[in-house]
Amino acid sequence: MKILIAEDDPVSCRILTANLKKWGHDVVVTHNGNDAWRALHAQGAPPLAILDRVMPDVDGIEICRQLRREKTDTPVHVILLTSLNRREDLLEGLEAGADDYLTKPLDTHELRARLQSAARILELQESLRQRVRELEAAIAERKLAEEALRNLSLTDQLTGLYNYRGFLNLAEHHAKTSRRTQTRSLLIYADMDGLKEINDTLGHRAGSTAISAVAEILRRTFRDCDIIARLGGDEFAVLVPNVKHAASATLLERLKRNLRSYNEEAGHEFTVALSIGAVEIDHEEAWHIEDQMARADEVMYREKRKKKGK
């Protein structure tokens, strides 16, 4: 074990050092409090310190006090050297935070026993720290796994609609298979208006209810085979595959009608509104859902700007 000694008396210091070395310890020798303090804060500092109670500059008790004021995961185990028959020194030392004490003149058998007890305590502390590290690692791993699981899920927990990932997967699959058909698809990008105000004035529970209401309206408007998703926050998207010519306008009209009738029903503490961007996708050419979403998003954004400009 690496052990620091702080002892100003050369004879005591030599006796202590010789014994510790004889027992196979690695000894860092200092002769005053300031050097001891520095050595205890150096890289690879010893975990155990034997400090003389009385030293000319900073004494052992003061070092103890200052060590205990520090917040650390690896507290130094301090053995204080006090003179026999100075009980008040001993009590003061323990109060200052010393872990143990030895009286001078040194009894080497006692020193050895105290070191063994110190080694046991340090070992226990280390295994405790190790356990904490393991638990922290396990928790971090678990969080990652949960995150991964969330990412794997295809549905949105609040509404039961597809989530962003689910939407992308299904829409991309549709994009790949649709080229063979001679039809077109309708992509609707819808952004709720005023969700923030609902959250701010009525609380987040009302906000969640509003989101669920929009989900319900979308479900009522479209068919089971349409891909309806909540992309996140207040954003929704619907992909209607194989729309017949001129059917798009009808669908959008139906959506607006359903929104209106929801708002006309009695008993809602808020009204819901959507800014909608709709684009038709021609199946003649290869297409990617991301590009089409960007198109729809742009149309939606223009509508939102127009509303705000009103």
């Binding site: 008396d9 050369p10 004879v11 005591s12 001078k104 003149p105 080497t108």
Partner: protein, 125 residues
Amino acid sequence: MSLTHTELAAVDLAVLTSYEEAQIEGEPDFVVELIDLYLDEVPRLFDALQTAIQDNDSTSAKRAAHSLRGSSANLGVLQIAAIADELEHLDSPCGTSAVQLLQSLENEFRRVKEILSAERQKRSR
């Protein structure tokens, strides 16, 4: 004043030789090393005591006495340890009693030096 300590041996050689236990094979005699350290340290502490008493500096006097007691007790130099202890705990560690005790210490040290030097000789042979 040192009369109170007459029943103590000047040097308890059993204490001194107990340090043979810490001897590492192949290294110079450890007990000899300790004797040398001690014989070197004591005159230094006497000087410090002398200066402190002359300067009427109680703190330094007590500290020097304390160190002297510690080193001496460690090596089984019992008389000096006892006198130093008495000096350290004087109400006025720079007064006339202190001067007398310092004198006793110096006298005692002459005796101790002879004993330790003899021991050193014996071991160096």
